[in-house]
Amino acid sequence: MKFTSWRALGILMTVLPVAAWAANPALAGRWRLDPKRSTALDGWTAWDLVVSLDGTKISLGHDMAWRATKFFATNAVDTAQPTQAKDFFRVEQRHMALYAVRGAMTPVKAEWLDGERTLRIEAAVPVESSQGTGPMRIYQELRLIEGDRELLLIELHSTRGKPCLYRFTKVTGEK
């Protein structure tokens, strides 16, 4: 390898991690679920995804409602390193007897893909069922759609044979 190649590689090594950490600012903001174009929610009647970025750290707020009940939970992920999240929130099908395990830690990995247009999140969420507690692996891709006004969330469960597809529209102005 010639010197110039080593130099190029050095430059690449310096730039690549930065690229991996670089967040796409278009993801930030409040996104509202479009129920007509999404997999049917179960129990929940409204869902806003509220995203904020701070370097490699991404905060995913879930602003939820059903009937008179309002609920807000935040999942913090980091594209620079795997993390352990306490009480990781899962938008569950509420008519299933599957429950969050209070205080449990969830291993979470996050990564930017596709030129920072897709955020991939992998989490192994402890879930309580009638037979006890076990992990549910959740794989999510949040894909920015061309124009950055729409967001597609694809979610797979290790226990579910059918993907969930949620389409969001950017909320501008007031909530």
Partner: protein, 550 residues
């Protein structure tokens, strides 16, 4: 102690009264004449409601001494059984019905049972309920000002006129005035919560029963934001006969089912709904046909021992009161179904129970509920009332040949999702009160109260089928439950909301991962007792509560 003695005396008096009624009914099985009206579906306050209010109040009076007037509702009415039951009365009780076409014709036939009329004011919503209270006490029909000429043509005189009396007053003020004027003369055994639909549409279908029994009508709120109404309702509840019954339903939009049921349960009272349940004044006067005895389609003996194999066992239960369920829809019988029977109908509507029994398929099994002899939330029933109520439930279940008790407590839930669990203390009480049942079911939406004692399982619903949920998602949900509960046997108890149709459930079951067997709910509980692959769990005080109570 005095309260306990009073309660016992009331139970004895009620039981004796019931037996007398039963004896009278059994003694008169001979064919009889009666009349029928066919209602349309127009309950608009500005259109069809006033005539229905008049006719329903007249029905309550006409049916005081004998069953004379029955109402058949359109097929899309919430209570779908009025027509099948109409046919049942003809076939099994020899009732020869003559159709009554108009309100005028009804008055011609039955005005003699009224002493006069009371005028309500449609612009003052609560005045309808006050007028129904007066109707029961004074033998009056309930009319608007526009209907006065019609009833006067039939010889009725004005007894009271509520126009202007309550203008500008709050519901709390109106019902406080009514309480002071009428409550002392009303029955204290029961109360008519005539709520339900509000605003442009109202459906007081159950008012005939309240008029006949001289109940106090109201639609007071159990929502803490309506403090004056809650206070008055608590006063009424505290002055009712112990273990009494609240008929009707809560007022939509004013409070919630959870709030109201929690409140009345805390007084040891029981709920019988809905506000639009028709014809109780007629139905209560028939008992089971001579020689009829309930023989439930129990699939397993009480003392049988079954052993679960390494597979998934699934059972379906429908609990929204059998009369509003999928009973009359196509497909019933294709799958084993447990049907929660409103066991109090043994007292108020035995013919309806006999109708369900005779039309049951081998796949239809009746179970007791809901929580006791009526709808109530057991986590809130006072300890000194619990055993008395469950004594009644046990007797009713024996009459109905039911071997399973279904329990529901949504006092910490919000609708059909949320916390529907039982405290350990409540579970202890049920095991003690029902030593002879095969087992217990808990929940409405999913719940996580589970136990196994004395080879009798208590299993909560692991899944609730929302009729609006796309069928492919229901299948995916159930398969996910099967995947995540990986130990075999897995006991998957499914609650079917009333408006689901059975044919779509059949299609769902074809998509489920196996090895899977769909079994009747009594077999399910016996199998669940043979191998506890589920955890023992009760309501944990730290679990999320979505409705904080009163």
């Amino acid at each position: 102690m005095r309260r306990l003695i009073t309660a016992l005396v009331c139970v004895i008096v009620f039981t004796v009264g019931l037996r007398a009624d039963e004896a009278a009914a059994v003694a008169e099985p001979a064919p009889r004449a009666a009349w029928v009206m066919h209602f349309d579906g127009d309950w608009l306050v500005t259109k069809g409601l006033p005539e229905k209010v008049l006719l329903i109040s007249l029905q309550g009076l006409a049916n005081r001494a004998a069953p004379q007037l029955y109402v058949v509702h359109p097929k899309d009415f919430q209570w779908e059984i009025t027509e099948p039951l109409f046919e049942f009365y003809q076939r099994k009780h020899g009732v020869a019905f003559t159709e009554v076409k108009t309100a005028g014709d009804a008055l011609t036939l039955f005005a003699k049972h009224a002493k006069g009329y009371v005028i309500w004011e449609p612009s003052v919503s609560a005045s309808m309920n006050v007028a129904f209270t007066i109707a029961g006490l004074e033998d009056a029909v309930v009319v608007t000002a526009e209907q006065v000429p019609l009833v006067e043509k039939h010889g009725l005189k004005k007894i009271d006129d509520l126009r202007g009396r309550y203008t500008g007053q709050t519901d709390a003020q109106i019902y406080t005035d009514a309480y002071q004027r009428y409550w002392a003369r009303c029955t204290h055994d029961s109360l008519m919560l005539m709520g339900g639909h509000r605003g442009a549409v109202r459906m007081p279908g159950m008012a005939d029963w309240g008029v006949r029994q001289k109940m106090f009508f109201h639609d007071l709120s159990a929502n803490p934001i309506h403090a004056e109404e809650v206070a008055l309702e608590k006063k009424l509840f505290s002055e009712m006969t112990p273990l009494g019954t609240v008929f009707g339903w809560h007022a939509y939009g004013k409070d919630t089912e959870e709030q109201h049921t929690t409140l009345l349960s805390s007084y040891g009272l029981r709920m019988e709904g809905l506000h639009n349940l028709p014809n109780l004044s007629f139905n209560c006067q028939f008992t089971f046909t001579p020689g009829f005895k309930f023989k439930n389609n129990n699939h397993v003996a009480l003392d049988a021992k079954l052993t679960a194999e390494k597979k998934v066992y699934l059972a379906f239960v429908q609990s929204d009161s059998i009369g509003i369920g999928v009973w009359t829809k196509p497909g019933r019988g294709k799958l084993p179904f447990g049907w929660q029977v409103t066991m109090n109908w043994t007292k108020f509507s035995p013919a309806a129970l006999e109708y369900f029994h005779e039309s049951a398929t081998k796949n239809d099994t009746f179970i007791g509920g809901l929580s006791g002899p009526g709808y109530m939330y057991p986590n809130h029933i006072p300890a000194d009332k619990f055993d008395l109520l469950m004594d009644d439930a046990r007797k009713l279940m024996a009459t109905l040949d039911e071997h399973i008790m279904e329990i529901m407590d949504n006092s910490a839930a919000d609708g059909n999702v949320g916390n529907a669990d039982l405290t350990k203390e409540t579970v202890d009480r049920y095991y003690k009160a029902f030593p002879n049942v095969i087992g217990f079911i808990n929940g409405y939406g999913p719940a996580r109260t589970r136990d196994l004692r004395d080879k009798r399982a208590m299993i909560s619903y692991d899944y609730y089928i929302d009729p609006r949920r796309p069928r492919e998602e229901v299948a995916a949900d159930l398969n996910e439950m099967i995947a995540i509960n990986a130990k075999r046997p897995y006991f998957l108890l499914v609650h079917v909301r009333e408006s689901n149709d059975v044919n779509s459930l059949v299609e769902i079951t074809k998509q489920l991962d196996g090895p899977l067997e769909i079994v009747p709910v009594d077999v399910f509980l016996k199998l669940a007792a043979s191998n506890q692959t589920y955890t023992t769990r009760y309501q944990d005080p730290a679990d999320p509560k979505h409705f904080k109570g009163l």
